[in-house]
């Protein structure tokens, strides 16, 4: 009954906006038992919340729903999502002549929290997902080492392990942002080449100490056991720092599409360096200049020069709700929520604007806030039903501030393709339609 009064189109006197467009104090969630509307993905059933009308749902009046009148289904060996959630999927975009070449996008707009379910982790494969027999898979470490060694998966499973809860983001994520016109699609389907998991495995430094690398070695070439033997050069410094030979993802052994049985994990670094199906590590004193560190994953600047070995994914944030493809449910209180992450460390602050960047309010960061990891942010908002432009801006612990699109494009031009991390803007039209704009 209380609900009735609280969902009104006018904020009451106690609730003063802290920034333009109706943004409210982030601590409001904690202070009051307010009910907030969530913009929802448009589906068949209308989720319109009309507080004034009593429910006319006759079925709801039944003392028991049909599923309460019989025993439920038996146990299952491996749980699956509810069939009612079957539209929560990765969006696949593959080459017409090579079905294993392309990407699948994680549906960021349909997910909550900070961990990506394993089946919805984004994919980028160059030649499909290899079907690896873990008994036959070996890791070879050789090159500038005292002794070249091979490790079986069973060997690696016996080493001391650690977990890193971190994001992996493809260097090409969000690249539609370089287009001269804002692309219209659900947020996951152009920003969803990023995901976040708890990865568990053996610190790479442990293995590099066992082979005993030459002090003059500066690079490591990592190679995959897929149908393109994907290879990439990585500075030894990173390998000795926080690199992990990942065997587990979110508690279970890696999924085939995420590198089963062994993946190189380089927290905060572009996805292509996080080599899946890892089979070979060659210790050297120079990069190999592979196709994926020269022709691709380099960023052409207006000068004609290109940025190479960029590696670190700069701070980025975006609002996942409300976001394009979702539906507003009339004026009232909403919770704005989204994700922020930085390859340089922890997110220290996320600011949100509802007036196109004229004024900003600090969002609440959901605990835990971890280094090189998704950070979920939230802020209450009173939408008055008028035109609003929502933005979020991430600031990381190094002081790096996520740039406005104009700043990024002025600096890099439009043909860099990779490493797009500009502020994202959603326009909420008075009738509630949400679109992507450059503002």
């Amino acid at each position: 009954m209380k609900k009735k009064q609280e969902i009104s189109s006018e904020p009451n006197n106690e609730i003063k906006p802290v920034a333009g467009g109706g943004l409210l104090d982030r601590r409001l969630f904690l202070k009051r038992g307010l009910t907030f509307i969530t913009a929802t993905t448009v589906t068949g059933a209308s989720g319109k919340l009309l507080a004034e009308e009593p429910s006319s749902d006759v079925e709801a009046i039944q003392p028991r729903q049909p599923w309460m009148l019989k025993p439920g289904k038996p146990f299952s060996n491996y749980g699956q999502p509810s069939p009612h959630e079957s539209d929560v999927i990765r969006w696949i975009s593959a080459n017409s002549m090579a079905s294993g070449n392309g990407v699948s996008w994680s549906p960021l707009h349909q997910l909550e929290g900070m961990i990506t379910p394993n089946g919805l982790h984004y994919e980028r494969h160059h030649n499909g997902v290899p079907e690896i027999d873990p008994e036959k898979h070996k890791l070879l470490v050789h090159g500038m080492v005292e002794k070249a060694l091979m490790f079986s998966i069973n060997d690696l499973l016996r080493y001391p392990m650690e977990s890193r809860i971190c994001f992996i983001e493809c260097g090409g994520n969000s690249n539609a942002g370089w287009n001269s016109r804002p692309v219209q699609s659900e947020v996951g389907y152009f920003h969803g080449l990023v995901s976040c998991s708890e990865w568990t495995g053996v610190p790479l430094s442990l293995i590099l100490k066992e082979v005993c690398i030459d002090p003059k070695a500066t690079w490591l070439i990592a190679e995959a056991a897929d149908g393109i033997a994907m290879e990439i050069s990585i500075p030894v410094e990173k390998a000795m720092d926080d690199a992990l030979l990942a065997l587990y993802q979110n508690g279970e052994r890696l999924r085939p599409e995420n590198g089963y049985p062994l993946r190189l994990l380089l927290p905060g670094w572009e996805g292509v360096t996080n080599v899946k199906w890892l089979r070979r590590l060659q210790v050297t004193d120079r990069p190999v200049m592979s196709r994926n560190e020269t022709a691709k994953y380099t960023e052409l600047l207006p000068s004609g020069k290109a940025r190479q070995f960029t590696f670190v994914m700069d701070a980025k944030s975006l609002i996942t709700s409300p976001s394009p493809g979702q539906e507003m449910h009339g004026p009232g209180f909403y919770q704005i929520t989204g994700l922020a992450w930085s390859g340089r460390g922890k997110i220290s602050k996320v600011e949100v604007s509802a007036d196109g960047g004229k004024t900003w309010a600090e969002a609440e960061l959901q605990e835990p806030v971890l280094s090189k990891c998704y950070t979920r942010f939230r802020i209450p908002w009173h939408w008055d039903g008028g035109l609003a432009i929502l933005k979020s801006r991430a600031i990381d612990e190094t002081g790096y501030v996520q740039p406005e699109r104009e700043v990024l494009v002025n600096e890099r031009g439009n043909h860099g393709y990779f490493h797009y991390n500009a502020i994202v803007s959603w326009e909420i039209a008075p009738e509630g339609y949400i679109s992507h704009v450059y503002a």
Partner: protein, 184 residues
């Protein structure tokens, strides 16, 4: 810690000798089970696919533009289009615009800094539908053909372990290393 150390000692003299011969920075911590098995030289040779810009890693063999054209038309054109243009996969030639201006062309001829990268990439992954199926001679040949359609090599060129690293790509010095502390 002390428990690990003592069990380490119990493993046997041979391990102890190895661990003592290592420098301090190589010394793995006492809780590492040290399960790596020595990799045979032959296996390393067979697995090592890396080709460096100076030619390190290139196998013996040779191939020319004319042979390369035949291989290309039979095995590559289906995805990459005739002469490297207009297929479903990446364009492999036809860069006319250069790298500045409104519509820059990032192709082998205009963008790739090293010719060795072509050999490396084709040998490890192409044709995408049958990776590992080309002989080294065929890889030299199709590399020569692609460099020819990119106007880098003349129509009568032949490539080998010695000549491939000598091919100079126009965009050789077009890259700026961003990650701090890297030494060229």
């Amino acid at each position: 810690m002390s428990m690990h150390k003592s069990s380490f000692l119990l493993i046997g003299l041979s391990l102890l000798v190895i661990s003592q011969s290592l420098s301090a920075e190589c010394d793995p911590p006492g809780n590492s089970p040290l399960l790596g098995k020595v990799a045979p030289e032959k296996l390393i040779e067979a697995w090592d696919l890396s080709i460096f810009p100076d030619g390190t890693g290139l196998p013996p063999g040779k191939g020319n533009v004319v042979e390369g054209e035949k291989i290309y038309n039979a095995q590559c054109a289906v995805c990459h289009g005739p002469k490297g243009i207009g297929g479903s996969a990446e364009e492999l030639a036809g860069g006319e615009q250069g790298l500045t201006g409104e519509y820059p062309d990032k192709t082998i001829g205009t963008y790739w800094p090293y010719a060795t990268t072509l050999f490396d990439f084709i040998r490890r992954g192409m044709p995408l539908s049958a990776p590992g199926s080309l002989t080294d001679d065929q890889v030299y040949a199709v590399t020569a053909y692609l460099l020819h359609v990119n106007k880098i090599l003349p129509g009568d060129a032949e490539l080998s372990k010695e000549t491939l690293p000598e091919v100079e790509m126009p965009n050789r010095s077009g890259f700026v290393w961003i990650y701090p502390g890297l030494k060229k």
